[in-house]
């Protein structure tokens, strides 16, 4: 294999494919590699950790077709370090030579036959608006669990809902529901559970106008411009989230998004561990935020707000609260509560396409 291309073009392809390269110690050594496959003037760079596979196509000046699997991190570091301009790569036997200007590197490669056979995208192609999808995914993936002990909760439910697409994620402490009206990519009643890690990676890929989705029986492939991301689907039944959403609330707080975010971030400085909650005392003209820790001290801040309901104090995990407020794009947010121990709901004050349900923390 031999080709020549611009450093920045190659670096972009390597960086994107490298996001799927296994980082776990103990994985197969070849999974730490990026597969470079040249056919004519098209280079395909592929990284995989067996759960997520990312392939990037780049236009190069091809010299000789072939395949090589090079250590992903090392190759990326080398290409990032060389001077801007043309880079020439030539693979021979178990070596890959990289030349750029006066720099010459020779790195050992993995046997290309050891690289896993890649899933072939299957299923009908469905098109989704990339910007809207990516924004929605960023809003819901934060609520998914990162603990492998409950695999169902590490996924995002993509379900057909009233002629549109609904995205749902929960880690049992919070629940995010986002509707994409008019995005009818799934048949009525159809739903799939996609690993949130794969969707988070998808949102980090270079933007393109549309995302093409291919749904197979056991995997899904998202194609965005020159990049395709394939992930296995999670098997199992997603929790019945609808029954978790209260039908109405007696207490409603309306507060500015930025002032609330800033205040929570400030008082959270005192919460040095994951167990310390932020207490929100709600009164008609505003809220008082308090973090109290045995080890470090106390932080308080008051924020102007409009509140209708019984005066009460409710405590939340500050990181989860920040996640929910960040997910809402409007200037003001609405926090609806039942009492200090029942789920509260964050929503944009205008629009109802996002719901972030958050369980309080019981404090004594």
């Amino acid at each position: 294999m031999k080709f020549r291309c611009e450093r920045d073009v190659f670096l972009e392809a390597l960086s994107a494919a490298g996001r799927a390269v296994a980082s776990r110690s103990g994985a197969l050594p070849v999974l730490g590699g990026v597969r470079l496959a040249l056919s004519g003037d098209t280079l395909k760079a592929t990284g995989t950790d067996l759960d997520v596979t990312i392939t990037v196509e780049a236009a190069v000046s091809g010299g000789a077709d072939g395949v090589s699997v090079a250590p992903a991190r090392l190759l990326t570091d080398i290409v990032r370090a060389v001077e801007p301009g043309a880079v020439v790569l030539e693979a021979e036997a178990d070596e890959l030579r990289i030349a750029s200007g006066r720099s010459h590197f020779t790195v050992r490669t993995h046997p290309s036959g050891d690289f896993p056979r890649l899933p072939v995208p299957s299923g009908d192609t469905l098109s989704l608006p990339a910007a809207e999808l990516f924004e929605a995914l960023r809003q819901v993936t934060r609520a998914a669990s990162s603990e492998d002990s409950r695999p169902i909760l590490t996924g995002v439910l993509m379900a057909a809902e009233a002629g549109g697409l609904r995205l749902v994620a929960t880690d049992s402490y919070r629940l995010a529901v986002r509707d994409l009206p008019g995005v009818g990519v799934l048949a009525a009643g159809q739903s799939v559970l996609v690993p949130s890690r794969a969707l988070s990676e998808l949102t980090r890929l270079p933007a393109s106008a549309d995302v093409v989705l291919r749904l197979g029986a056991h995997d899904a492939t998202f194609e965005a411009g020159p990049v395709s991301l394939t992930t296995r689907l999670i098997e199992g039944e997603f929790p019945n989230y609808r029954q978790l959403i209260p039908s109405g609330y007696p207490n409603r707080l309306i507060v500015g998004r930025e002032p609330l975010l800033d205040a929570v971030r400030r008082v959270k400085l005192l919460a040095r561990d994951a167990t310390t909650p932020v207490r929100i005392a709600m009164r008609p003209t505003g809220i008082d935020l308090t973090v109290v820790t045995t080890d470090w001290g106390t932080a308080t801040e008051d924020v102007d707000a409009k509140y209708e309901g019984a005066e009460m104090t409710v405590a939340f995990n500050p990181a989860y609260l920040i996640d929910g407020v960040e997910a809402i794009a409007s200037d003001e947010i609405t926090l609806d509560t039942l009492d200090a121990l029942k789920p509260a709901t964050l929503r944009p004050t205008e629009g109802d396409d996002l719901l972030y349900l958050l369980m309080p923390v019981r404090v004594s």
């Binding site: 049992s172 167990t275 310390t276 909650p277 045995t294 019981r362 404090v363």
Partner: protein, 219 residues
């Protein structure tokens, strides 16, 4: 304390034979007569040592340390680079800060973590042989003495037993329950504590920090 830096070889004869070839080492002779041989390698235990009771016989170019069990440590000295002696005086003992102090603070704030209904009367409650870490009252009003250790060992049980004996002399407190609290309690200490009627409670610092806080779930 005598410190000698010397180029020497060391031979031990006793339960087994061991030889340290010639090298420059630190020889430490403590006030109790014990002798230890150190290399310049981390804060680590001696390469070889002889504890009390033992006898040091210094001969020209050679030290012989022996004990009543018939073990001998022979230090063959090629060259002495430094030989100093300094009176250190009585040692005040180890002042444990950090984990123990933090545990005491956390348990003082959340005594119910040790036993339901427990409330704090006083930290560092004085007795005539020293202060007990916490004095509490349980739900029934009985006095409870709590000794807090990073690691619960037999020494800690015996210390608490001595405090309980002294506290029981006070008619306002008698009978006093005892609780040994530690991050980990050794099985031997648990056996002794049970025999002395003392309760053992292992404490998770992380959980204790989050005491009074319960993460509720949606489902």
């Amino acid at each position: 304390m005598r410190l000698v830096i010397a180029t020497c070889a060391v031979d031990y004869e006793g339960r087994l034979s061991a030889h340290l070839p010639t090298a420059t080492r630190l020889l430490m002779v403590k006030a109790d007569g014990s002798v230890s041989v150190h290399s310049d390698d981390r804060a680590y235990k001696p390469l070889n040592w002889m504890t009390q009771p033992c006898e040091l016989r210094a001969e020209p170019g050679r030290w012989v340390v022996s004990n009543p069990k018939g073990e001998t440590l022979t230090i063959t000295i090629d060259e002495v680079h430094l030989d100093v002696q300094h009176e250190l005086g009585a040692d005040p003992g180890l002042q444990k800060h950090g984990v123990e102090a933090q545990l005491q603070e956390l348990l003082a704030a959340n005594p119910g973590f040790l036993s339901q209904g427990l409330r704090l009367v006083r930290r560092e409650y004085p007795t005539d042989i020293g202060p007990v870490d916490l004095l509490c009252r349980d739900a029934a009003g009985q006095a409870v003495a709590v000794e807090i250790k990073r690691r619960g060992e037999i020494d800690g049980v015996e210390q608490l037993a001595r405090y309980l004996e002294r506290l029981d002399l006070d008619g306002r407190l008698r009978p006093v329950r005892g609780i040994l609290a530690a991050q980990r309690i050794k099985p031997q200490a648990q056996v002794l504590a049970t025999a002395r009627g003392i309760e053992c409670v292992e404490v998770d610092c992380e959980r204790l920090r989050g005491a009074g806080v319960e993460r509720l779930t949606l489902f």
